[in-house]
Each structure stands twice: as structure tokens, then as C-alpha cells.
């Protein structure tokens, strides 16, 4: 009986070790972030909600939510409206926030290059439990934007975010 149990455990361990890991790329599409004006010189908050619907997306790839082993943000980019360029902005810091996950800083651009309308952030090396955000019904992208001078209109940013999701096959 003991030997049977031992064999069973060994089989389970072998099966587990045989599980293939696969990396999938999940892109959000355009997420609108808004910082309501008037914007003051210094730090302003732009935020945009996003509904990942990860479970559905994974199903389309033939994977279950339970198979997600890890996730991390690979790329974050913003485009500014045509009416403005980046000369107004000195730095951007990006966070992820959600109801049931702790806010996490995931990107920064310091300094923001002058006269650009498309900005790509530097991504944090240390990322923890990013899959937790994607499992939520809704998450919020929060961009802390330091502006160089007071300005009255709202600031609209369009963000595109690319995640790498590691799944067990």
C-alpha cells in the first residue's frame, strides 16, 4: 500500500514537471486616461479604468484562468492629443490599482523628451502579483504626471499596455 502511494506521488510529480509553460501576450488596446483640469504646476493624477476580461481572452486561447502562473507588464506607451505635445510634461510615473490588489508602481519616464506626442515608459524590473490585477473585473491605470506650468484644459492620454502572461499548458 505504501509503495502504491509512493508511486502515485512520483507520478503526480512527474506530470507536474512535464507541464509546459507558455508565454502569451495580452494587449489592452487603447485605454483613455483623464486628468481633470485645471492642471496645476507639479503633480496631477490621470486615471483610466480597464476591464481585463482575462478569463474570456484566455478561453479563446484554450487556457483556463487557473492555469495562469505569472504575469508582468512588458510595455506601456502613451499618446498625447494632437493639440499638445510632451513639452508641458516633465515626468510620468505609472501605477496599477484595483479593489483587491495593492497599488504597484510599474513604469516611469523621467525626463519626458521634448516635443513628442508618443511616449514609451521604462518598465519596473521588480513586479509582483501582476496577474492579480488582471484577474479583477476592473483595474485602474494611474499616471502621476508632473506638469511644468498651470494649464486649464483637461488632459487626455491614450495608453496601450502590453502584458506577458505565463500559463501552464
Amino acid at each position: 500500500m505504501k509503495a502504491l502511494l509512493l508511486n502515485l506521488i512520483i507520478c503526480c510529480l512527474l506530470l507536474a514537471s512535464c507541464a509546459q509553460k507558455e508565454e502569451l501576450t495580452f494587449t489592452t488596446g487603447e485605454v483613455n486616461l483623464l486628468a481633470s483640469g485645471p492642471l496645476m504646476e507639479g503633480s496631477n493624477t490621470a486615471q483610466g479604468e480597464f476591464q481585463p476580461a482575462l478569463e474570456q481572452w484566455l478561453k479563446s486561447k484554450g487556457v483556463n484562468l487557473a492555469d495562469v502562473a505569472d504575469a508582468k507588464l512588458l510595455k506601456a506607451s502613451f499618446s498625447l492629443p494632437d493639440s499638445m505635445n510632451s513639452s508641458l510634461i516633465s515626468e510620468i510615473t505609472l501605477h496599477l490599482a484595483a479593489e483587491k490588489a495593492d497599488m504597484q508602481k510599474v513604469g516611469v519616464l523621467n525626463p519626458v523628451p521634448e516635443a513628442q506626442t508618443d511616449l514609451t515608459l521604462q518598465i519596473a524590473h521588480d513586479q509582483k502579483n501582476i496577474a492579480e490585477f488582471l484577474r479583477q473585473p476592473a483595474m485602474t491605470f494611474v499616471a502621476d504626471i508632473n506638469v511644468k506650468k498651470d494649464t486649464t484644459p483637461d488632459l487626455h492620454l491614450k495608453g496601450i499596455f502590453e502584458f506577458q502572461i505565463t500559463v501552464n499548458r
Partner: protein, 147 residues
């Protein structure tokens, strides 16, 4: 009978509104006791977050550049500016205090568990601790009134 129900509904609604007002009294501009910074606390979703919006000494004397988070354990995030830095994160209101959050000390690069209590509408007790609340330090923050 109908008027009793209307009165009861209004009473419950007023209680809900005043509880929300009490929770949101954390929102605003605050100054720690050392006066080195000012922190704006705002609500995102259902949680409260605070970021540095003003520094008494914004320039790093070593680099002559605006101060950044040079002590961050993650090297890739050391260029994050301290102006705009989110040092209070993920606070939820429970039993008359804001709890379950963290406070970051940019001078050491350390993050501590934190609980916030309002002494009155213009004074906060901010207690940072490791593990148990008893092992911590409390700082008193004052609301900054804008002219």
C-alpha cells in the same frame, strides 16, 4: 404609516452620507510634523492614496537636479521623481480609522505598514509599524489650508 417610512429612509440616507463624509475627511493636503513635504491624499476607486506634491528642498544637493527616489530597492525605479511620489497607498476606512495601507520613507527606501487616525478634522495620527502596531512610530500631520 407612509410618513414614518419616509422619515426612516431619510434617516438611513443621512447616516450613509455622514459616514461617507467622515471617511472622505482624509482627502486633502497634509503636512508631516517635520514640514519637509506636503502630501495630497485622494481617493481612487474605494481606497485612499497620498502623494508628495511639495518639497521644502526639491533639489538634491549632490546632483543639483530635482530629487528622485534614489533609495528604491528596484534600481529601475530610482528615476521616479519625489515630487508626485505616492508614499501612502491602499488605505481603506474601517471602524473610524484608515487601515490596511502602507507608508514609504523615501529617505531610507523602506515601506512600513500604516494606520491613520483623525484626531480632529485638521489633524491626523499616522502610525508606521513593522509587524505589530505596538512596534512603530506615530507622526502628527496637519491639514494645509489653501488661501
Amino acid at each position: 404609516m407612509k410618513s414614518i417610512w419616509i422619515f426612516f429612509s431619510l434617516f438611513i440616507a443621512s447616516l450613509t452620507v455622514s459616514a461617507q463624509d467622515a471617511a472622505d475627511q482624509l482627502i486633502g493636503l497634509w503636512e508631516p510634523s517635520n514640514g519637509k513635504a506636503r502630501v495630497k491624499i485622494e481617493k481612487i476607486g474605494s481606497k485612499y492614496y497620498g502623494k508628495i506634491v511639495w518639497l521644502r528642498e526639491p533639489i538634491d544637493p549632490q546632483t543639483q537636479q530635482p530629487k528622485v527616489d534614489k533609495n528604491n530597492p528596484d534600481e529601475s525605479m530610482r528615476s521616479v521623481p519625489l515630487k508626485g511620489y505616492r508614499m501612502l497607498k491602499d488605505f481603506v476606512q474601517k471602524n473610524g480609522e484608515w487601515t490596511d495601507g502602507t507608508i514609504y520613507d523615501p529617505e531610507s527606501g523602506s515601506t512600513y505598514s500604516c494606520v491613520i487616525k483623525a484626531k480632529d478634522e485638521n489633524t491626523l495620527d499616522i502610525r508606521g509599524y513593522v509587524g505589530v502596531k505596538a512596534l512603530g512610530r506615530t507622526d502628527v500631520w496637519k491639514r494645509v489650508k489653501l488661501k
